[in-house]
Structure formats: structure tokens, C-alpha cells
């Protein structure tokens, strides 16, 4: 719970600061705190991925983009009252909706009694893999993982198309 409050404080900093370099470093701290919260919530695979991706690669890419553009944000020209009002209204509506959700850590909510728990019993007899998350990713939902790999492939091709510069004199192929 302390971690969650720290995360909220970091996000307030991200919103208010105008020096973009500080914003990028704060977002890296935010990813690291999110990874810690995920470990407390028993999601170890997700925490490892979030730490590696959020606090690692994502920060490097944002710093590289900052190096190629400028690092200070201009002062806002329109008054922020309307977006702030919309944001507060949406937040209040969501809080009202969240009062009906099951309390933290319940074992009998609909999420925890249907299919997900079934994977825990089926994993070792059918695949022989103790890490249930890997078994579900690679075998029970392998088609989704294929889609995800293709998305990563597409992003790589897209960035190469946008940002590669052929300055070589001789012909490439």
C-alpha cells in the first residue's frame, strides 16, 4: 500500500514537471515501483518483464528520442480547466463503479473460480511444465503469443522504415 502511494506521488510529478529529462527519469522510477507492486501481488513473470521493459528499454528509447529533439516543454497556452474537469468526472464515475467490485484478495470472485484456476490442475499432466504462466503462454494460448511476436516484428520493421538512413555510397544489395 505504501508502494501504491509512492507511485501516485511520482505520477503527480510527471504531470507537473516541464523539464522532459526529469519526466523520463521519473517514468523510469514509476516502472520500477510498478514492478515492485507486481511482486507483492504475486505476479513474478509480469514483474520481471515490466522491470526489464519499462525501466530498461523504454527509458533508453525515450532518452534517445530526447537527444534527437529538445528537452524542455513549452508553457501551456490553454487553461487546463476543461480537461481537469473531465478527468475528475471520469474518476468519480469510476470510483462509484468500483464500490461494487469484489474486495482485495477474495478467492471466490468470478475471476478466480472459472477457467484460470483450471489451468493450475491441468498444467503438469498435460505439458509437464511447472511454471503455469509459461505453459499457458506457450501452449494453451500459443496463438496469442504468435500474434504478439508478429506485433514486435511489425514495430521493428516500422521503426526501421521510419528512421534508417542510407548514407552509404556503394549499393547495399
Amino acid at each position: 500500500m505504501v508502494l501504491l502511494t509512492m507511485m501516485a506521488a511520482v505520477v503527480v510529478g510527471i504531470v507537473r514537471l516541464r523539464n522532459l529529462f526529469a519526466v523520463v527519469i521519473l517514468s523510469s522510477i514509476y516502472s520500477f515501483l510498478m514492478a515492485s507492486v507486481l511482486i507483492v501481488l504475486d505476479a513474478v513473470d509480469v514483474a520481471m518483464t515490466e522491470a526489464a521493459v519499462g525501466a530498461g528499454v523504454s527509458t533508453v528509447l525515450m532518452l534517445a528520442a530526447l537527444y534527437l529533439t529538445k528537452t524542455e516543454e513549452a508553457a501551456p497556452r490553454h487553461s487546463p480547466i476543461l480537461p481537469m474537469f473531465v478527468a475528475v468526472v471520469i474518476g468519480a464515475a469510476l470510483v462509484y463503479g468500483s464500490m461494487d467490485m469484489p474486495p482485495f484478495g477474495a478467492a471466490d470472485s468470478p475471476l478466480n473460480t472459472n477457467e484460470g484456476i483450471g489451468y493450475l490442475e491441468r498444467s503438469i499432466p498435460e505439458t509437464g511444465v511447472p511454471n503455469v504462466v509459461s505453459a499457458v503462454l506457450a501452449s494453451y494460448r500459443g496463438y496469442d503469443t504468435l500474434g504478439e511476436t508478429v506485433v514486435v516484428f511489425t514495430a521493428g520493421i516500422g521503426v526501421l522504415l521510419l528512421l534508417r538512413r542510407n548514407r552509404r555510397g556503394k549499393a547495399k544489395e
Binding site: 513474478v44 513473470d45 514483474a47 520481471m48 518483464t49 526489464a52 521493459v53 530498461g56 528499454v57 533508453v60 528509447l61 534517445a64 528520442a65 537527444y67 534527437l68 498435460e126 505439458t127 509437464g128 511444465v129 511447472p130 511454471n131 504462466v133 509459461s134 505453459a135 503462454l137 506457450a138 501452449s139 500459443g142 496463438y143 503469443t145 504468435l146 511476436t149 508478429v150 514486435v152 516484428f153 514495430a155 521493428g156 520493421i157 521503426v159 526501421l160 521510419l162 528512421l163 534508417r164 538512413r165
Partner: protein, 138 residues
Amino acid sequence: MRLDVVLRVVTKLLLPFIIVFGFYVQFHGELGPGGGFQAGVIIGACVILYAIMFGLENAMRVLSVTAVEKMISLGVLLYLGTGFAGMVMGGEFLNYSVLEHDPVHGQHLGITLIELGVLITVAGTMIAIFYAFAGRGR
């Protein structure tokens, strides 16, 4: 005495351990936390660290741009190949149980192959994106 001596020495000491840890996470993904994506990002971050500390030209000499581009496609091909191998052996697409004499071994083989494919694609994409961003500013 350059200002980054400490960083260079520590990087030189740490890089082999980071690579070994990345492969450990990959191959132990079945027994503990880990798997293809985490290992791919760790190995990609290792090469990016080398490029940051020792210069982009040195990193491109170790792992050239064409090699990285081929890595991206090779991973997806490996994944699809495992899926089609399941079809060739008699089951549906991406059915690993028919790849070996016994379903549990088939699942092991299938899962290992696709995690390897995911590792190659994710590492290649991270390195290629970094090369593209860093090469633009020169």
C-alpha cells in the same frame, strides 16, 4: 584520465554475467519465472549497454546491422515453422503433442522451440530500434 573509467571497467566486468543470466532466464522459463520475452529484453539490453559504453561503431562491428535485421525475421519464422511442423506431423496448427513419440515430450520440444523464436525476435527488435535511433543523430 577520462571521466567514464569506472563505468567502462564495471561494464566490461558485468557484460558476461548479464548474457549468462539472460540465457538462464530463457532456459529456466519452465521451472521458474522467466521465458522468452524477459530473456530477449535482457540480451537486447546487454548489447545496448555495450553500444552505449564503447561506441556505436564498435557495437556494429560485433553485431552488424544486417545480422540484426535477419534476426528479427528468423525468430518469427522459427515460431511459424514449429506451428507448421505440427500440421505436417498430423495435428492442427501449433499442436505440439504430435511432434514426438509421447505428448509430454512433444510439448517440451514445442515450448522450447517457440521460446527460442521469441527470444531471437525480441532481442533483434530491441537492438535494431536502438541502432536506428542512435544512428540518426550522427
